[in-house]
Amino acid sequence: MASATAVPTPARVAEAAAPKAPRSSGLGKGGPLTYVVAYLFVGVCLAPIVYIVFGGFRTNAQITEDPSGLPSPWQVSNYVEVLTGSLFWRQLGNSVVAGLLTTLGVVVLGLMASYVLARYSFLGRGAMYSLFAAGLMFPMTVAITPLYIMIRSLGLMNSVGGLVLPQIAFALPTTIIILVPFLRAIPRELEEAASIDGASRLGFFFRMVVPLSLPGVVTVGILAFVASWNSYMLPLFILNDETSYTLPLGVQAFASQYSVDTARVLAFTSLSMIPALVFFSLFERRIVGGLTGAVKG
């Protein structure tokens, strides 16, 4: 799948790798209509989220009586109940562990492989790169059934390993495609200087490459974490025990288990999106850079 990789206009790639600060330009200022349209669009984007969060502050009676109303009076009991129960925290913990392990694995394996692909020349390098790039064409949907059978026969059902290993594998193509240009961009002179100073290639890798490629590493790490955090299909196949559920499965199970208790479902749902939203708003620039990098880099 060269398509997603072979369109590097240099300016764009640089843009993606290091987003610029907003600049003044001849783009024109927005009139009042611009604001109306912008706020309307944002409103549509946020309305369902607001519905979920506010719904958690209502009682079931309020929701039945007036499905589209605001909380009156505001109830915190739903949130309190979810937060004091052990299920939410357990599933949150599962999600965090799976996310962190996936991220760690993707970054470590991806960085090592990208380094080889970027800075070593050896027979079969092109083939190896193509193999990883071809991975973009194999979405998990296609492989899910054999993957499930494999995980089952490896005895990894309901385990973090059964979840994390495939997630790392499926995140590697994007990771490598983003990281290879980053590592190539490290000037040759640095490597020569390091080798004159007596650093081995591996020493150069740890002392120079890892720190210099940090922006790219952060990007792929965040992408891997968010993908793992929201992942649904794989956990659906691999995890069938409520205590091993990650949050997405937990939300779904909770929603069907307490289907009559709408308010509590909404409270559980909104609590489970907070981590992703916080994470995202912290790293928004990086994620955006990574996405555009993934597409155009």
């Binding site: 398509s3 997603a4 072979a6 369109v7 590097p8 790639v13 640089a14 843009e15 993606a16 790798a17 290091a18 907003p22 001849g26 783009l27 927005g30 604001y35 349209v37 912008a38 989220i49 519905y51 039945t64 589209s68 492989a113 080889v116 070593y120 020349s121 050896f122 027979l123 092109g126 083939a127 991975g135 064409m137 194999f138 949907t141 296609v142 492989a143 899910i144 059934t145 054999p146 494999m150 590697l172 240009p181 961009a185 490290i186 000037p187 040759r188 080798s195 940090l214 929201n230 299909m233 196949f237 997405p248 479902v265 749902t269 999106m273 939203l277 995202f280 996405l291 597409v295 155009k296």
Partner: protein, 341 residues
Amino acid sequence: MSVSQGEISPSTTTPEDRAGSGGGAGAPTSVPAERPRRGRNGRWQRRAEVAVLAGPALVVFLTFVIVPVVMAAYYGFFKWKGFGPPTDFVGFDNYLIIFRDAEFMAALGHNAFIVVLSLVVQGPVAVAVALLLNRRIRGRSVIRVLVFVPYVVSEVIVGTGFSLMLATNGAVNDLLGKLGLSFFATDWLSDPDVAIWTLLFIISWKYIGFAVILFLAGLQGVPDELSEASAIDGASYWQTQRFITLPLLGPTLRIWAFLSIIGSLQLFDLVYIIWGQYVASTAGTSTMATYMVANGRNAGNYGFGNAVAVVLFLISLAVALVYQRFVLRRDTEGALTEGKK
């Protein structure tokens, strides 16, 4: 500490294509300076380094991506319940069943519907919003973050929220009633005439932020000088957008369309969450992937499920190749020719 733009841009034009075109050996060696200094020993050490560094990633990737995909193709030829090795070889029977099954054809139709209408609906809206957010308006950076929120929230949350909102006695119908539009109120999720439009709306809502962000990044790559020059030449804002900005956004648009098409073909999560495995086909929202899961794993017919996966993959691959051949070609042309020199 970041690698500056000046350093990245010159090198990104060539290297990837060099690797991608399989000419790794023919391309200039990475480290000409070191070769002569190290002898035979050094060569072996380098090979060991390559193996140690690339090995783990390669093993994990082959085991959990390539092997399952190959196994899917193999299992697809068997009638198999998923226990013990598959023995009941049925040749292409599974595939014949798939293509004679009206339910699969319906699912395929739904996928096609989503593919086309996602492009038609999301594309123009996203371009418009991106152009809008590219202007200097107050709170632009906050708006950019907010627009991206639906994309970040997981499919399960979106599905749960929308199923509650769109239920017959849910918030949407209630709100319509309050606005005096109760004749619009309908059974959004289970009416077969309406459900797929509902699905289209939810998908668009969820993924349009991604398109907007991509286009915004593309717009930043359009040099300001061009719009300044056209302004000097007397072009209006809209003329500038139409004749300068949009054409330059072309590559981004084409890549986005590609991702959107592939995503629509693989669509699973939202449908499965909102409609469940059984309702999806009666509500007219089933997709190839939900058909695969419902008739494969959930029905215990693992061989059949894998055959569906293969069909799904081949359809995606065919679409991808056609798209690459006819649409993306002009984008890759420059890059490829550059790589050859």
